[in-house]
């Protein structure tokens, strides 16, 4: 490592964070950011399995027109839990709280995050919040969709109250993680690690953290008001008392639109790491990529109105929101062009993590460009509430964030556990997920443009053909994830020793042993150059 002096690369003892202290209780009360990251990994993986089962139930129901395996009421609930679990318990905590927790301190040469106790508390917030939210199943289950739109959601339903209170508690997990990351990035960088030398993953997490800290409290008050609306009928969102259901949509999306950048910005960070490492080339346009993350975070607060083009919002507001929404395309495209420029004349290694990164670029571009379609009011008036929208946000959230999570897991697995996964099988998992994904969601663009509405358990017979293709694709994705789970478990038990730096990464986490020692570095690294000095 040319850019680092004083960092020990050799593993002098067998002591690492995994065997530093033993016992279940030590794990559940740990203050080590790496262990907390792994707690998040396990939790998020379990929630992903639950959300995935709901997804397959949805697609199975939609395999044929008419009632296939469940009633309309059951379908509404399955769809609600699929959305709520995937958004609040998988994609939002996914990259920041798992990979971010583990690698943000390591990438800036810190021993831990700024507030280790808050970090652990954030995990418990997620667990408790998830428990409360899922307890709603005992009250018959919520059927409002994950967006809880009023006035449907204010019918004094205990299940909705449970759900929103669960979201309230889980929100603190996000706030505390974001707060921790901002302070850690500002205050705990190693000597020589200036803000212009922090890896792009850290820049992405930092931008995400700004949104987490500033937007999540608004969701907190929104769901609190929704719960109060259910209990007391306070009337803020109830037309009977002069309240306004659209006000709820404004409140909700004031958080939930920035929240989609909480989901995608960390993914951009992962991709920046993958592209540069597997091209063996210094990233093209470091500054542009770094600042475009912050730009996206800033713009994200002013676009929420594009969810209300047809909700009776004023036309002027609609036009302004439409314009600002298109602005998001600029910093996003800056990132994509810089990644492509990094690939140019790079020495490209098509290992599984790189395949996921390339898959991300392909799918995210489709998701992003269809986002511009939807930002155009004239088009959105026709496409809103159709499967076009469903396909669009799955291309961004699954084709984007989930691909990045998978790439990140395969990339950092050797560092986390000191072992290599079988790259061939990881590539097979990519094949199934990537192909399955397109088979599932590309037909949904077509279905949406033909006018098939979202959220229903049934559709007109002429949509059946494409829906069947889509369902087959969903099962292909399922197979891909099963292969991934087997590959990872096989790697855990049978993986070959990885050594400190199997991929030739240049950021600080690769300078220490795999798995890392308890305090990450035996000697605090002193940084003398940028993060991606490939030679």
């Amino acid at each position: 490592m040319a850019n680092v002096t004083g960092a020990h690369t050799a593993n002098h003892s067998d002591s690492n964070y995994l065997n530093h202290e033993k016992g279940l209780w030590n794990w559940l009360s740990t203050l080590d950011h790496k262990r907390i990251g792994l707690l998040y990994f396990i939790t998020v993986a379990i929630f992903f399995l639950i959300g995935g089962i709901f997804a397959l139930l949805i697609r199975t129901e939609l395999f044929s027109a008419g009632e296939t395996i469940m009633t309309a009421e059951q379908y509404s609930r399955v769809m609600t839990y699929h959305g709520a679990v995937m958004v609040f318990l998988v994609i939002i905590p996914g990259i920041p709280a798992f990979l971010g927790n583990f690698f943000l301190p390591m990438q800036i040469g810190a021993k831990d995050v700024a507030f280790p106790r808050l970090n652990l508390a954030s995990w418990y917030c997620l667990i408790i919040g998830a428990g409360i939210a899922l307890a709603s199943l005992f009250f018959g289950g919520a059927d409002t969709g994950w967006t809880f739109y009023t006035p449907y959601s204010i019918k004094h339903a205990p299940a909705v109250i449970c759900m929103v209170l669960g979201v309230f508690v889980a929100g603190f997990s996000s706030i505390l993680t974001g707060l921790n990351f901002i302070v850690t990035t500002h205050k705990l960088r190693a000597p020589g690690m200036t803000m212009n030398r922090i890896p792009l993953f850290v820049w992405a997490l930092y931008s995400t953290a700004i949104i987490q800290v500033l937007a999540t409290p608004v969701l907190a008050i929104t769901v609190l008001l929704l719960a109060a609306e259910n209990v007391f009928g306070i009337g803020f969102f109830d037309p009977a008392l002069g309240g306004d259901p659209v006000l709820f949509q404004h409140f909700f999306w004031f958080y939930s639109h920035p929240a989609v950048y909480i989901m995608i910005l960390p993914a951009f960070g992962v991709i920046s790491e993958l592209i540069t490492t597997f091209s063996k080339k210094t990233i093209f346009g470091y500054t542009a990529i770094a600042y475009s993350s912050v730009a996206i975070a800033a713009v994200s607060f002013f676009v929420w109105g594009h969810h209300m083009f047809v909700s009776g919002q004023s036309e002027i507001a609609g036009i302004v929101f439409s314009f600002i929404t298109m602005l998001v395309g600029v910093p996003t495209a800056i990132k994509l062009f810089n990644w492509v420029a990094t690939l140019y004349k790079g020495s490209i290694n098509l290992s599984a993590p790189m395949l996921y990164a390339l898959g991300f670029m392909f799918l995210f571009t489709i998701g992003g460009v269809t986002g511009i379609f939807l930002a155009t009011i004239a088009v959105d008036v026709h496409f809103h509430d159709t499967y076009f929208v469903v396909a669009h946000f799955h291309y961004v959230m699954v084709g984007g964030t989930l691909m990045a999570i998978m790439g990140g897991i395969y990339y950092w697995f050797p560092k986390m556990f000191g072992k290599l996964v079988n790259d061939k099988w990881a590539q097979v998992s990519f094949f199934f997920i990537f192909v399955g994904f397109n088979v599932t969601f590309y037909p949904q663009f077509v279905l949406g443009s033909l006018g098939m509405p979202r959220r229903y358990f049934d559709y007109l017979p002429e949509y059946e053909h494409l829906n069947r293709i889509s369902t087959v694709g969903a099962y292909l994705i399922g197979i891909g994830f099963v292969i991934s789970v087997i590959t990872v478990i096989h790697g855990l038990f049978r993986g070959k020793p990885a050594g400190p730096n199997p991929w030739g990464g240049t950021t600080l986490e690769w300078t220490t042993a795999s798995p890392p020692p308890h305090e990450n570095f035996l000697v605090t690294p002193i940084v003398t150059a940028g993060p991606y000095e490939h030679r």
């Binding site: 203050l31 021993k111 280790p116 901002i182 302070v183 500033l214 409290p217 008050i221 109060a228 009337g235």
Partner: protein, 228 residues
């Protein structure tokens, strides 16, 4: 592992991942200010809703505020402002390691919290008695209302005012209770002599929170009591 228990009074060991106590103090302070931002944004949602509905139904808010007692509200404002002073004094004495004075200042702050909540309790029970409850639970007694505010036409959605009244003061009240709990916690630590010129972060953090709670009330008071 983290904040090690100090062996000698007033000597604070910084946590293992910081370079120095000063480093830890600066980091904690940044974290606290970020947390204050989240609090402001959370209350911000309520204030935005207030502005919107006040614009739509000014009469509802005007008549609704007739039911509040400005004397109680003003007293509570003074109580909270005074408690902010004693809180600041508590921090100051902790920095000076004047343990006894610090404990007295913090105790007075807690007492102010009790006074505030006591007055709130009087106000709440009076409203409960009259049936002036939020939203669907509103059951205003016409005779009592006439006796209290005279012959004023009551807007049909007067319950909306009480929704705001109870949501805003309720959320604020919860913050006052949490603040009182936190001040009790730092007071106990002060008694143990844990704070001094080199380490007083918890007192300062709790103080910051208490001032924010105070500040929110400064806005709630005119919005709910004085709009008429």
């Amino acid at each position: 592992m983290s904040t090690a228990k100090s062996s000698t009074p007033g000597v604070h060991q910084h946590a293992h991942h910081y370079d120095s106590a000063e480093h830890e103090y600066q980091s904690s302070k940044q974290g606290l200010w970020l947390f204050m931002c989240t609090e402001i944004l959370m209350f911000g949602g309520l204030f935005v809703a207030y502005i919107i509905f006040h614009n739509m139904f000014p009469e509802t808010f005007k008549v609704g505020s007739l039911f509040t007692d400005v004397k109680y509200g003003a007293t509570n404002t003074v109580v909270l402002l005074f408690s902010s002073l004693t809180m600041a004094l508590g921090i100051h004495y902790c920095q000076m390691r004047q343990q006894q004075k610090a404990v007295i200042a913090l105790a007075v702050t807690i007492l102010c919290g009790f006074a505030f909540m006591g007055i709130k309790w009087l106000e709440y029970s009076h409203k409960f008695h009259m049936g002036l409850l939020p939203g669907d639970w509103y059951a205003g007694n016409a005779e009592m209302i006439a006796a209290e505010i005279g012959n004023v036409t009551i807007p049909s959605n007067i319950a909306l005012y009480f929704s705001f009244y109870f949501m805003m003061t309720g959320l604020h009240g919860v913050h006052v209770l949490v603040g009182m709990g936190l001040i009790t916690w730092v007071m106990i630590r002060t008694m143990r002599g844990e704070f001094g010129p080199h380490f007083y972060t918890p007192v300062e953090g709790v103080g910051l929170f208490w001032h924010l709670v105070d500040l929110v009330w400064i806005y709630l008071f005119p919005l709910l009591y004085l709009v008429s």
